[in-house]
C-alpha cells in the first residue's frame, strides 16, 4: 500500500462526497443527483485493480454509513463488492475506450439500486418494483452515466498521475 496514493484516494473520495451530498443538492436545480461515489469506486477499481477498488469501496461505504446513520456495513458491504468486481474487470479497461467504464458505472449503480430496494424496501413489504425502477433507480442510473462521461476520465487521470509519480520515484532510487 502506497501511502501517498491512499491519501490521494481519500481526497478524491472526500471531494466526490462533498459534490454529491452538499454542492449538487444546494444548487437545487438537479432533481436526480448522480451517484458520484459509485463513479469514484468504479474508477479506482478499473484503473488500479481489486485491492484499491475494495479500499475505495470500504472508505466510501464507511463514510456514508457513519455520516448518514445507517447500520455500519449497510453501504460498506455493497461498495466493497462494487470495488472488487470493478477491480476484477481491470483487464478489460483501456484508457481510450470509454464504453467499458460507462457500462461498469451503469451496472454498479443498478446493482446499488437493487440492493437498497431489496434490503430497505422489499423486506418491509414495499413490493412495487416497477415504481421504484421508473422513479428512482433508472433516473439515477442515467444521471450517473452522464456524470461518469465527464468525471471518470478526471478521476482515472488523477489516479494515473499518482501511479506514474510512484513508478518514476521507485526507478530513480533502485
Amino acid at each position: 500500500m502506497k501511502l501517498k496514493r491512499i491519501i490521494g484516494m481519500v481526497l478524491v473520495i472526500a471531494a466526490g462526497f462533498l459534490l454529491q451530498n452538499s454542492i449538487l443538492p444546494a444548487i437545487g436545480q438537479i432533481h436526480y443527483i448522480p451517484n458520484i461515489l459509485v463513479i469514484t469506486v468504479c474508477a479506482f477499481g478499473l484503473t488500479s485493480g481489486p485491492y484499491y477498488g475494495m479500499l475505495a469501496g470500504v472508505l466510501c461505504g464507511l463514510l456514508m454509513d457513519s455520516v448518514f446513520g445507517h447500520r455500519i456495513g449497510y453501504y460498506s458491504l455493497v461498495f466493497l463488492y462494487m470495488g472488487y468486481w470493478n477491480g476484477v474487470c481491470q483487464k478489460y479497461f483501456y484508457f481510450d475506450n470509454l464504453a467499458v467504464p460507462l457500462l461498469a458505472c451503469g451496472l454498479s449503480d443498478l446493482g446499488l439500486g437493487f440492493y437498497i430496494f431489496v434490503v430497505s424496501f422489499l423486506l418491509r413489504n414495499r413490493t412495487n418494483l416497477p415504481f421504484y425502477m421508473m422513479n428512482i433507480i433508472l433516473p439515477e442510473l442515467i444521471s450517473t452515466i452522464v456524470a461518469a462521461l465527464i468525471l471518470f476520465r478526471v478521476i482515472a487521470l488523477i489516479n494515473g498521475k499518482m501511479a506514474e509519480l510512484e513508478k518514476r520515484r521507485s526507478t530513480k532510487f533502485v
Binding site: 500500500m1 454542492i23 457513519s66 455500519i72 458491504l77
Partner: protein, 285 residues
Amino acid sequence: MKDGFNFKIPARVVLFLLTLLFAVLIALSFFQSSVTDALGNGVSAAILPMQKGLNQLGARIFSEAEDLATLKHAQEENEQLKEQIAALQEEISLTEQERYELETYRELYELDQEYSQYEKVGARVIGKDSGQWFHSFLIDKGSDDGLAEDMAVIAQGGLVGVITAVGPHSARVMSIIDDESNVTAMSVAGRENFIVSGDLELYEDGLLRVMYIDRESEIGPGDKVVTSNISSVYLPGILIGYIDEVSVDPNNMTQSGTLIPVVDFEHLETVLVITALKNTGDDIR
C-alpha cells in the same frame, strides 16, 4: 509486488474476510447494539474532523451558489413582493381581528402550548443522503449550539422531522417523508390520535400516508393535522399538514388515507430546531 501491495493475500480472501466483518457488524447491530454504536461512534469520531471541514466548505459554497441564484431572481421577486405587500396589508387588518377570536378559542381548548413560544435555533441544510431512497439531511448546528437527539425540526411553519444524531457542529435530521418515518398525530378538530407515515410512492405526488384512524372518526379532507400530545418524541401541536382524503380500510375497523404536508421538502435551505425536549415521563417509571 505488481501494483503497490507488499503482502500477498489474494484479493478474494480479503473480500471474504471484509464481507465476514461487515456481516458480523450488521448482525451485532441487531442483537448487541451497544457494541456497534461504540464502533460507529469511533468511525464517526475519526471522520468528524474531515466532515467538519467538508461542512464548512459546503456551507461556504452553498451560500455562494445561493447568492448567485438570489441575484437572478431578485428583480422578478421584487415586483411580485410589491404586489404581495399590498395584499398582505389588507390581510393584516383582518388577522388582527381574528387573533382576538383565536385567543378566546385557545383558552376554551386549553391549547396554549402553541409551538411559537418554544425556544428555537436556526440552522442551514448542508448535506443530503444520496439518491432518492432516503430523506435524511445534515444541518450545520450541533451539540455545541444546544441541540440534542429527538428534537423536532420545523420550517415554513410546519414539521420537517426529528434529529436522529448530533455531533459537536452538525446534526442529522430524518424528515417525516422518509419511508421509515412514523409520527403520532392528531386532528385539531376531533382530537383523535393516528399515525402519519412517510411513503416514497405517495411522496412522488407530494403526499404522506395517514393510518389507524378510528372508524367512527369524522375526519375529512382539509382537516388540520398536528403532532399528538401522546407522541413519545414530538412536542404537541406542531402543524404537519392537511388531510387530502380518507377511506375506511378493508378490515372495517380503521380508516386510512393521505395527507398534504405544509412544508416544501424539495427546497429546504434553512430550518428551525425547537430546543425544548418533550418530557416523556421516564423519571416516574
